[in-house]
């Protein structure tokens, strides 16, 4: 009998190999009724396919269930879960789809997947208080510029050259509406309301500001980026409007206290 660690690694490999695959000789003497490894193989692929389907319902509708299952099988084999929380499984599915040759004609598919992953992340994100608007409003312009803030954990940004918001809504409602890809880019802010994730298209200026903040820029630099898009924009007012909407987290790891944000 080999050591338990080696047995478990061999069984893990056998499960990943999928239903019907030959069984490695190292397991032949270790296991009795070894053809029943297929029960565990089926369980692995079936339950994880269902998990992906639950996270990516619109991707599934766009490609059809049969196609989805085939893509999922390849994805699961190449990217098995690394932890037991299934709501965290499948974050790289959009990147996989972007490289998945059979889906290459659906140019917007990876971006729809990114939107569905953002909705999933928003749903399960930790609960956290939002930035205190009054504290921000009290800051002097200089102090405001030096500030680093973060998006609320349940907020995400997704941009696409395709109208993925319309594609998502039409398929969520199971309509057969034809969507013109020429409708152009989508810039979406994903958030969690009371008990469900939701998204809305936002102005390019808002998106650029939020994207810079999410990327770790101090507010002064985020304001500059916003003004580069539209010199007539009002960054401070936009920031207060977004803070009022609960888009920012109350406390950030690298938040400066210069100017006394925390009284």
């Amino acid at each position: 009998m080999p050591e338990l660690r080696d047995v478990q690694h061999a069984i893990a490999e056998a499960i990943l190999a999928g239903p019907g695959a030959p069984i490695h000789p190292s397991l032949r003497e270790v296991l009795q009724r070894r053809e029943r490894i297929n029960i565990h193989r089926n369980h692995f692929y079936t339950t994880l396919t269902e998990a992906l389907q639950a996270t990516y319902p619109v991707v599934c509708r766009l490609v059809g269930e049969r196609f989805f299952r085939q893509a999922a099988k390849r994805y699961i084999a190449d990217h098995p879960p690394v932890g037991p929380c299934l709501f965290e499984y499948g974050g790289s599915f959009s990147e996989f789809l972007a490289r998945y040759e059979p889906a290459s004609a659906l140019v917007y598919l990876p971006d729809v997947a990114r939107l569905e992953w953002a909705l999933n992340e928003a749903l399960h994100a930790p609960d956290s208080p939002t930035l205190d608007l009054a504290a921000v409003a009290r800051l002097s312009p200089d102090a405001l510029g030096d500030l680093f803030i973060e998006l609320h954990p349940a907020c995400r940004l997704v941009a696409s050259p395709f109208p993925i918001d319309r594609i998502w809504r039409a398929n969520r409602d199971e309509s057969d509406e034809t969507i013109d890809l020429g409708l152009g880019a989508a810039r979406l802010l994903i958030r969690r309301s009371a008990d469900a994730p939701e998204f809305a298209a936002i102005a390019e200026t808002d998106f650029v500001l939020l994207d810079a903040i999410a990327g770790g820029a101090p507010l002064a630099r985020a304001f500059e980026r916003m003004l580069a898009v539209d010199p007539s924009a009002d960054p401070a007012r936009t920031l207060l409007r977004l803070a009022n909407a609960g888009v920012f987290a109350a406390h950030s790891a690298n938040q400066t206290t210069k100017g006394g944000l925390n009284p």
Partner: protein, 295 residues
Amino acid sequence: MASSHHLASPRAVPDARTGIGLRAPHYREVLETRPEVGWFEAHAENYMGGGPALSGLEAIRRDYPVALHGVGTSLGAADGPDPAHLERLADLVERIEPALVSEHLSWSAAGGVYLNDLLPLPYTEETLALFCRNIDHVQNALRRTILVENPSSYLEFPSSGIPEWQFLTEIAVRTGCGLLVDVNNVYVSAHNLGWNASDYIDAIPPAAVGEIHLAGHAVNAVGNGETVLIDDHGAPVPESVWALYGQAVERFGPVPSLIEWDTNIPELSTLMTEAAKADAVRAAHLGGDRDARVA
């Protein structure tokens, strides 16, 4: 930390009313109608994020006794439980203060890959020592004892020299953990591996048993007139498992019992009917037992 996280002190799960495994399709109904259910058991791994899942469980926890049932700690892993996952479990246990915490006699991860299953172990002295070490580690991290559930098995290791019931008895003696006896799993494993289910129940030490699980299984024909039972939790509890439950109740006495259903999940009312049936079966067997004692 914040007082908003404070919940009423934990309530014991009742042994006179069967509980129900809490599943996503029933959240809304449970929260909105507060049905007559004795207690709920939740899969710990579904509540390790934030948002409505966790706040829903906290709301349910205010009105019902709640147990946490882990499916991902991988107690039998040669690599040991993942420390990051164990920390999340400890945080959840601290937050929910469940009446019971349980896990499985199985492993789920190897080499950093999580296999989303409760996989079988060879019952050897090596495994016994490792398993007890891992339970000690988990019980220390959670600062409480856990219950360990017998798995449903399909595969067998020729090297398994220790019968499963003896292995379970031994881990309870060595670590102080309790046992969660899933009578459906006993039935499924006995059928699949040629054990005697009744002898299995008779070999479990009653004092260690802290909970009983009940569920249905699927019957798969594999040719030659042979069948393999699959523990899919996708059907009502069959008569054969009710009979084994009756035997278990007579041996173990009044123990908290739970109905599990995970595939083709029906209406909550169907699960409540199953729970009521368990209550009736238990009362009938305990009643007989008590009368016999009086006589």
